[in-house]
Symmetry: C2
Subunit: 448 residues, 2 copies
């Protein structure tokens, strides 16, 4: 394979305790250290040793309502990644943050800081927050509608982009002799006046190593897709089947092209939660062991969040009661709604079987097999227009990731599908994304 | 001196480039690395080697309007301190954050993270933001009034306190066998409904090592003083004279006592900016060298911010035109207004002399002398009811701090005024502050 051949992008998606909803109960899970930064620094260093593109934290500004049964508290991702940044030197650091429940000026500062601290490794997973309960932590009587959230998200991204661009790259002169610290003609107020925000700017931090953090997006509704096609440089997505993943991939690349973007500048990265064994039987046993630990009361809570219906009290071993699904209702998590319906259509599961299917990674692709089999499946998705890489979602930590790093990554490397070493230092370098010029710098050059 | 004798608290107040407004022009200033986290990690480790209580960053969500002449950009303090936390193990980490331009739920999360990441070393310098221009970055047509800002600040602190208390210390059970992760009767919604905020809670993060970060405050107006007496556990204050510092100290301790608080649980820490030389003449020469670098255009900008009047064009070597001061006007920085008037009354300076007096540390105490003399003056303030310690504000970095750490700290230690080593691991330990119990835990015990 030539050095310029297309290669997989791989992130480690860190969920405290692991992605399987019962991971914290698994004997080999290290869950005594979920509030200990050392645990995450070690994990990030392992991911860096395996040459992954980035690590990623999800987020939402509200406590899950089923904390009784699982380690579902949240770490604030930007601060945790700032602390991980200085224990690593290459791996990308992707934080989720909401456009619905924050101020653009504050968030622009936090991400600019992370990009400076990490010397160019920050990514922002832009979310509108699906958990309606969040509204109650921010003085709102109700969660804004899906369309309103996306309207605000677009304007939010426009504002923070202008703030990140507000200092041109060469604004700092640092001329001790003349006493001129900065060329203030290269530091621009953004004078934004829009429907949701009025922000004068400029940002109070010089431009960052990457110019702007990498823009990541994860919504799969129609609004989410067009938002992604316009803004995203990486997309975290959930698909259960190759066919669905290919449809999504083709649609996004087509929409992006129609907007004049280079399709290679949007990396589409489905989630994959691998249960790995040295034999198929061993892998299956591992998966079964996890399902043994599942607590239906918790799983039904999760299903309710995805489908909007409460199936508590239903016979777990009867067929899933499809007729109760409300297709017209507003679903909290649009992307997951489709995933669940798709499983139901295809597999006709019992309620318990459906709960087990979803317990692994909340609707993401769970795959069970030997390292060769996992690598084969990843290669198939990669080579057949379904993925540019993957968000790796270990069922438990740290062992679930160690197995992947030690047994699957070397196979991908041997096949020429994954890097042997980093070639650059920033997350943009790893993903093969250009460093954007400041819009103000462009304007200045255009009128010069 | 016995182990329990009263001892100084000392923080390093880090201003990028140093506190003297022309520090960045000084030859020995390292200003090529002001956006490099390594620079601050090294500085924090030096402060930790000197056994200081904490390091401290100021903040405001707006760019200073005179960036042309000085390194006056802002680092976002919480992210920078998160990155410094993991390069240190004992020193406290105090970040400034505004109650006027943020949401309590978001800020509570950021500080809870910092306290977890640092294993109990976070402090919050609570400010209402004095820079009126900040309003324009947050969609407001004007900066809220001083009284409104303090009203919101009180409610803001009440809300975040309840959020930090919302998980009792023993809420996490982690019982793999029964499948109970947390005792959700020990995780409390806060159900706050007030004039400025409606926040349901609970926080989405377990209680932190210190229970709550240390509450720090810096305002010196009447509102600021009563706010401090009620909430603050450390006060950063600016005084030019022993007499003023004593008046402030006595007033705060008296007000705190009247509120039923233990006066030892509020550490009063004036700023001190020491110009140190091996002889008095050498120290004076250092100070003169800095004044040579001052740029009047910049200094007049700063003075305008403190006094609300623009003296550009006035004869720098004529007496300061006191008659132009508007005593009835709303001053942006109430605490500094008094400091400036006091200098004018006492010293009858020319305009240039006044600018030089303020260039050192924006109204804080600048003191010039040998290490012995500096130590003597600190001891006098400490022993005569003016200070429980100091916020050390080096004129330039890193040399300005190195000299203090290497030459002044050992004298204070020899005199038994400062610790030889840390006795605890948290900022509360260093300041001798109790760890607060969760209010919800207290209530539960009271009704049990």
């Amino acid at each position: 394979m030539s050095a310029s051949a297309r290669r997989l992008s791989l992130n480690l998606f860190i969920y405290p305790g692991g992605h399987h909803e019962a991971a914290w109960r698994y004997a080999a899970s290290d869950v005594d250290h979920l509030l200990d930064i050392d645990f995450y620094q070690k994990l990030a260093r392992r991911a860096e040793q395996a040459k992954l593109d980035g690590i990623f934290f999800a987020d939402g500004p509200v406590l899950a309502d089923n904390i009784r049964f699982a380690a579902r508290f949240r770490l604030e991702p930007i601060t945790w990644l700032a602390a991980i940044a200085t224990a690593t030197s290459r791996i990308g650091l992707i934080a989720t943050a909401s456009t619905t429940y924050g101020e653009p000026y504050n968030l622009a500062r936090l991400f600019a800081s992370l990009d400076h601290i990490s010397k160019g490794r920050a990514g922002w997973n832009i979310v509108t927050t699906s958990a309606g309960l969040a509204a109650q932590n921010f003085g709102l009587s109700e969660h804004p509608s899906h369309a309103d959230r996306y309207g605000r998200a677009q304007e939010f991204v426009d504002v923070v982009t202008k703030l990140w661009d507000s200092w041109e790259d060469d604004a700092i002169l640092l001329d001790k002799k003349t006493g001129i610290y900065a060329d203030d003609t290269k530091i621009h107020p953004i004078d934004h006046i829009g429907r949701h925000f009025r922000v004068k700017g400029p940002l109070n931090t010089p431009r960052t190593p990457q110019g702007r953090p990498v823009y990541v997006q994860a919504g799969a509704s129609d609004d989410g897709r067009s938002f992604a096609a316009r803004y995203a440089e990486a997309i975290f997505t959930a698909h259960q089947t190759l066919a669905n993943a290919r449809e999504f991939y083709a649609d996004i690349k087509r929409q992006a092209k129609a907007l004049g973007r280079h399709p290679d500048h949007i990396k589409i990265l489905p989630g994959i939660s691998p249960f790995i064994g040295s034999t198929e039987a061993e892998a299956q046993k591992l998966h079964d062991d996890f399902n043994e630990l599942v607590q239906p009361e918790y799983s039904l809570h999760q299903l309710k969040r995805m489908l909007g219906i409460d199936l508590a009290g239903h016979d777990l071993d009867a067929p899933f009661p499809s007729h109760l699904i409300n297709f017209d209702g507003a679903q909290a998590v649009a992307s997951r709604f489709k995933v669940v319906l798709d499983i139901v259509d295809r597999e006709k599961p019992t309620l318990r079987q459906l709960l087990h299917r979803l317990a692994g990674a909340r609707g993401h692709w769970v795959t069970v097999g030997t390292p060769e089999q996992i690598a084969d499946r990843m290669e198939t998705w990669f080579q057949s227009g379904a993925a540019d890489g993957f968000n790796v979602m270990p069922p438990y930590l740290p062992g679930g990731f160690d197995t992947f790093a030690e047994q699957v990554v070397p196979i991908l490397q041997k096949r020429g599908l994954f890097r042997l070493d980093y070639e650059g230092t920033t997350l943009r370098d790893h993903y093969g994304l250009p460093r954007p010029e400041s819009v103000y710098g462009q304007q200045a050059r255009a009128t010069a």
